[in-house]
């Protein structure tokens, strides 16, 4: 017999979010909560109330991400553990040369150099996997990317600690100049890629995405060796603000997503060119899948870019006196925003897909790169913190 309405609803209800969580999820949440509590206790005096809010928000995001993306969970946990280990061996700057782990693996310079070696290696592995179709090679490439992204993030976290080791209290979050944000860019782009790699279960797009990451590593290495950009310098007063902790990372999530979408556009065009019965067509994902990831990436990038630009405006209002000064960086941000808004409009309203949109995504990266780098290199303005 059919039960009463309410009983039926109750019985048919999907398990709620809380019920769907596995023990592993609960453990992860507990771990993050404990870690956050310890952090807040230890660093309470060093944080102002905004930074406490940012910490809590980050903890929430980590929990959410860990529940949604199990691969990311392992990554976050390992990066935190390794970073803490590195910091424990780093009581002063001299330890970087004397301690074995720091010198060869974990000091920020070592970790970033490892990252700079592993990303190109991953690129080659992904390329080999694409050309041979060998699944083992693809898995190796994937692992290399994970480790490289881990090395990069460890490098940044250890660098954060290092800035606090300098005399004069110059400690700051290492996203303040072009060198540091290039590391951040490589890490974020890699993580975004790895997320989609897991979600869509295809490793054959890795080669394309890793190409842009390797290009950024190339720039990073040049900047390191030619301009000694790795040296830690104190922040200018205008950058000494909690806003930097939120404006810069959100911006780079957007840049990473746009870069990802552009390289997927390249993959799309190539997939479009090969004939359907060739071996490439088998290996590469379908056009629809590539297009789908591309769209999701641009949507994510656009959402975060909107947030980042607004945060930038709020910060500018506090530091420079006006939320919008038509500064070259701000103007170009508007242009990037309009560019991707246009892309999204055409997809939503006219249902446009295909080669045209793939090309647009690629050209969008050029616009984004000019906003990111070109403005700092060629144009002057208030935003010259990232000067070459």
């Amino acid at each position: 017999m059919v039960a009463s309405r309410d009983e039926m609803i109750r019985s048919m209800r999907r398990p709620s979010l809380l019920q769907r969580l596995t023990p592993g999820d609960w453990f992860w949440a507990a771990l993050v909560v404990v870690a956050t509590a310890v952090t807040c206790t230890v660093l309470w005096d060093a944080m102002n109330r905004y930074e406490v809010v940012i910490t809590l928000f980050t903890a929430g995001a980590m929990i959410g991400m860990g529940w949604h993306w199990h691969g990311g969970r392992l990554y976050m946990g390992l990066v935190c553990a390794v970073s803490l280990f590195a910091i424990s061996r780093y009581p002063d700057l001299a330890a970087a040369d004397s301690d074995f782990f720091l010198r060869y693996l974990l000091s920020s310079q070592s970790a970033i150099m490892w990252m700079s070696a592993l990303f190109p290696a991953a690129t080659l592995a992904y390329g080999a996997a694409l050309f041979t179709g060998n699944d083992f090679t693809a898995r190796v490439a994937s692992r290399l990317t994970w480790i490289a992204a881990g090395a990069g993030l460890v490098g940044l976290l250890v660098r954060w600690h290092e800035t606090h080791l300098f005399e004069g209290g110059i400690g700051y979050i290492p996203v303040s100049n072009l060198y540091e944000v290039f590391v951040l860019f490589a890490v974020i782009t890699a993580l975004l890629y790895l997320y989609y790699e897991g979600a869509y279960r295809t490793r054959q797009l890795g080669f394309f995405v890793l190409l842009i990451i390797s290009a950024s590593i190339g720039f990073l290495l040049w900047y390191h060796f030619d301009r000694q950009a790795y040296q830690i310098e104190p922040l200018v007063p205008a950058l000494n603000s909690y806003w930097m902790k939120i404006h810069v990372p959100t911006n780079f999530i957007a840049y990473g997503a746009f870069a990802l979408a552009a390289m997927l556009g390249v993959a799309y065009l190539i997939r479009d060119r090969v004939s359907d019965d060739s071996v490439w067509a088998q290996r590469l994902p379908t056009l629809k899948q590539i297009d789908d990831i591309s769209y999701r990436s641009i949507a994510l990038g656009f959402a975060f870019f909107t947030v980042a630009t607004i945060l930038g405006a709020l910060w500018a209002a506090e530091a420079w006196g006006a939320y919008w000064s038509w500064d070259p960086k701000e103007s170009w941000s508007l242009i990037v925003w309009l560019n991707y808004a246009g892309w999204l409009h055409l997809r939503y309203t006219k249902g446009l897909r295909g080669r045209f949109m793939a090309w647009w995504a690629i050209i969008g990266l050029l616009v984004t790169t000019f906003c990111f780098l070109g403005v700092n290199m060629f144009l002057s303005g208030l935003h010259s913190y990232g000067e070459l």
Binding site: V2, R5, M8, I9, R10, S11, M12, R13, R14, E167, G168, I170, E233, P234, V236, P237, A238, N240, S241, W243, A299, L300, F302, A303, T306, V307, I310, A313, L314, A317, E318, A319, W320, G321, A322, Y323, W324, W326, P328, S331, W332, L334, I335, L338, N339, G342, H345, Y348, T349, G351, V375, L379, S380, G381
Partner: protein, 691 residues
């Protein structure tokens, strides 16, 4: 927004076969059209790019020099020097606001329909055409089937509406309609932000200028002298102004930089700066700087006292005061000037930074302007760790000051002096920098510091070289000594040799060793043994200078010159003193300054803004953020259950659903829904159902 047939149709109000659209309707359609918006946006983007590549708001002179008269005029007419305030730019922005507003308002009816309509009027064929659908032939009655369907929908978060048509019952469910709200929010947000931006734009000022009520002031005047047409009344609109206030002073205006001039913006209160402080990093860069302000406002009972710093502004009466920069506030420099004409004259001057002084220097006139004063000069010095045993690799060279000397002809040279001597390779020097133009680097005159770390010995030496008797006796002694060494006696030869020394010293003072060398070349040119002549002459000069130096030392110590024996340190001093004398020939100033004492006074650079539209823009930004996330991450899903009596008694249930945005993801969701219904209808003992 028009994707599949099941979604909202592109419902244009005037496309249902009406014979003619009204003119207003056509205009509305055009203004709200995407094509227009895109065209306008492209123009705005290009204009923005121009604004980034072409430095904005520089003086007209700069542009004139850069582009030449023709293009300068072309760009000026197009207002490319202030492109973001250009009338055509603002016009296009206004057009965009209009276009977006119209577009949104035209779409709101259909959005509203999408949110509120459940589409209970579907037909069986439509449901069968959906990719996600399932069919049950069940023994349960239609009433029971309806209950199960409704419960299933509600259990999965859908809001339902049921409609019966004859013996067919349709249960329609919907969720995720918030995404449509996201669409509305994002576009409304754009309009709201643009309105806020216009409110904060300088339209009011442009209008006043256009009607002739306001005129830009281009001269460098004291505030009280600026005519009334260049004053803007307090609280009359949005503005962004700057003002530099020295410590202890106050201001009730700020200055709006406009093209090649400025306007004076009145403030409804007075800002007083009690103190300004800078905190430095070890490497000399500023870590933070802050000002202690007092706001005197007649409407307040008590003045407001607050400290502002970079990133920590103060807001009062809609005006926000930011710590933007700092500069010198008219520090007092107590200078002593030593004339270099040999008179030994000394002048004392109590100067202040940014002031100009007319100097009368024994027949010469110079205009002195003190340009700046730096309290710290910090550089990296890796050797300081070894030397001082300290842990710091930075060394502070002490205060420095810059000034300009302009002669009677109007030619100016810029100078830079350090107050204290600086150590270079274990020896101490007073650095006096000079340059003839701002693009050049400073060239430094290194005056050796004596055992008391002062310039006195050098100045005495330099002065002695101007005194004929001193030079004469020294050159005589030198000549005698040299000739004696060569074994050539004779006072007549000695006189002549001494005479050449005198000439060479004069040349040294006016043209340096280079000049001496050139002269010697000339003199030796016609001679039979030029090399020997040169060598001898140089030896004479050297020896003479040395004798003068011994005279100076003797004077200092109060003994006879003959008893002076110089040690290595004094000889080293002598070497450098000679070099300095030579270099001084190019110094270009009739005197050398020494800073004895200073009183440092700083001035804080404040930026004051009034942005009444700020809260509008912030509201719009919040709407935009919420709207974007709703738009992207919520998708509207619809499900239907069509229940009709079965052919063999019982009932038939046809369920279908769609999610235009994420069809693949919906497949899984629909399966779950259908399985849940399945569980209830066929708990393992009902007759077979078909898909």
């Amino acid at each position: 927004m028009a994707e599949t047939a099941a979604s909202m149709s592109a419902s244009r109000p005037d496309s249902r076969g009406q014979p003619r659209k009204s003119l207003g309707g056509i205009w509305l359609e055009f203004l709200g059209s995407m094509n227009l918006a895109i065209t306008l946006l492209v123009v705005v983007s290009i204009a923005s790019v121009i604004g980034t590549v072409l430095p904005q708001n520089e003086t007209f002179n700069t542009y004139l020099i850069q582009f030449g008269p023709f293009w300068f005029e072309v760009f000026r007419v197009l207002n490319l020097y202030d492109v973001y305030s250009a009338s055509w730019f603002l016009f296009i922005l206004g057009f965009l606001i209009l276009s977006t507003g119209i577009c949104v308002s035209r779409h709101i009816p259909s959005v509203w329909r999408e949110i509120t309509r459940y589409r209970t009027r579907v037909r069986e064929q439509s449901l069968l055409a959906l990719r996600q659908h399932r069919h049950w032939d069940s023994a349960h009655s239609t009433g029971e089937l309806q209950d199960v369907a409704e419960a299933a929908f509600q259990a999965h978060g859908y809001r339902t509406r049921t409609e019966a048509r004859g013996d067919i019952v349709v249960v329609a469910g919907m969720k995720g309609a918030a995404t449509r709200i996201g669409y509305v929010l994002t576009h409304v947000a754009v309009v709201v932000i643009a309105i806020g931006a216009l409110v904060d734009g300088n339209l009011y000022l442009k209008f006043q200028e256009f009607t002739g009520n306001l005129q830009i002031e281009t001269r460098d005047l004291r505030v009280s002298q600026v005519p009334a047409e260049s004053w803007v009344a307090a609280e009359s609109g949005a503005f962004r102004g700057n003002v530099t206030i020295p410590e202890g002073a106050s201001s009730e205006v700020s200055f709006l930089q406009m093209r090649d001039g400025y306007l004076v913006q009145e403030l409804p209160f007075t800002i007083e700066v009690e103190q300004f402080r800078i905190d430095y990093f070890p490497n000399g860069a500023p870590r933070s700087y802050e000002s202690d302000l007092v706001i005197h406002d007649p409407t307040l009972d008590e003045p407001i006292r607050e400290t502002i710093g970079v990133n920590y502004p103060l807001t009062h009466r809609g005006h926000t005061i930011y710590q933007a920069s700092f500069t010198d506030g008219g520090s007092s420099l107590y200078l002593t000037g030593h004339l270099l004409d040999g008179s030994g004259q000394v002048m004392e001057l109590d100067a202040r930074v940014f002031e100009t002084y007319d100097l009368q220097l024994g027949g010469l006139e110079r205009e002195l302007r003190i340009d700046g004063f730096e309290l710290l000069n910090i550089n990296r010095d890796t050797r300081s760790v070894e030397r001082t045993g300290g842990s710091s690799e930075f060394i502070n060279s002490g205060p420095s000051y810059t000034f300009t000397l302009r002669d009677e002809a109007g030619q100016a040279r810029e100078y830079r002096n350090y107050m204290a001597p600086v150590e270079i390779e274990d020896r101490w020097y007073f650095l006096h920098g000079m340059r003839t133009g701002a693009e050049e680097p400073f060239r430094y005159l290194h005056i050796p510091a004596d055992h008391n770390y002062s310039m006195d010995t050098f100045l005495a030496f330099h002065q002695a070289l101007h005194r004929p008797e001193a030079v004469a006796s020294a050159s005589r002694r030198a000549a005698d000594g040299l000739l004696g060494q060569m074994g050539v006696p004779g006072s007549e030869l000695g006189d002549r040799v001494a005479g050449t020394a005198h000439g060479m010293i004069d040349t040294l003072l006016t043209r340096g060793f280079g000049g001496v060398s050139a002269e010697l070349d000339e003199r030796a040119a016609g001679a039979s043994r030029p090399g020997m002549i040169r060598e001898f002459s140089e030896a004479v000069l050297q020896r003479t200078l040395y004798e003068v130096y011994r005279d100076v030392l003797a004077d200092q110590q109060g003994v006879m010159p003959a008893s002076i024996q110089t040690d290595s340190r004094q000889r080293a001093f002598f070497e450098e003193a000679m070099n300095a004398v030579s270099a001084a020939a190019e110094y270009g100033a009739p005197l050398i300054f020494q800073l004895n004492h200073f009183e440092h006074r700083q001035a804080t650079g404040l930026q004051i803004t009034r942005a009444p539209g700020k809260s509008i823009v912030y509201t719009g930004s919040a709407l935009l953020t919420i709207g974007v996330f709703l738009l992207f991450y919520v998708s509207q899903r619809r499900v239907w259950a069509l229940v009709k009596p079965g052919q063999t008694g019982g009932g038939e249930l046809l369920m279908g659903g769609a999610n235009q945005r994420r069809p693949e993801q919906f497949e899984e969701e629909f399966e779950q829904l259908a399985d849940a219904v399945d569980q209830h209808l066929n708990p393992a003992d009902d007759p077979a159902r078909e898909n």
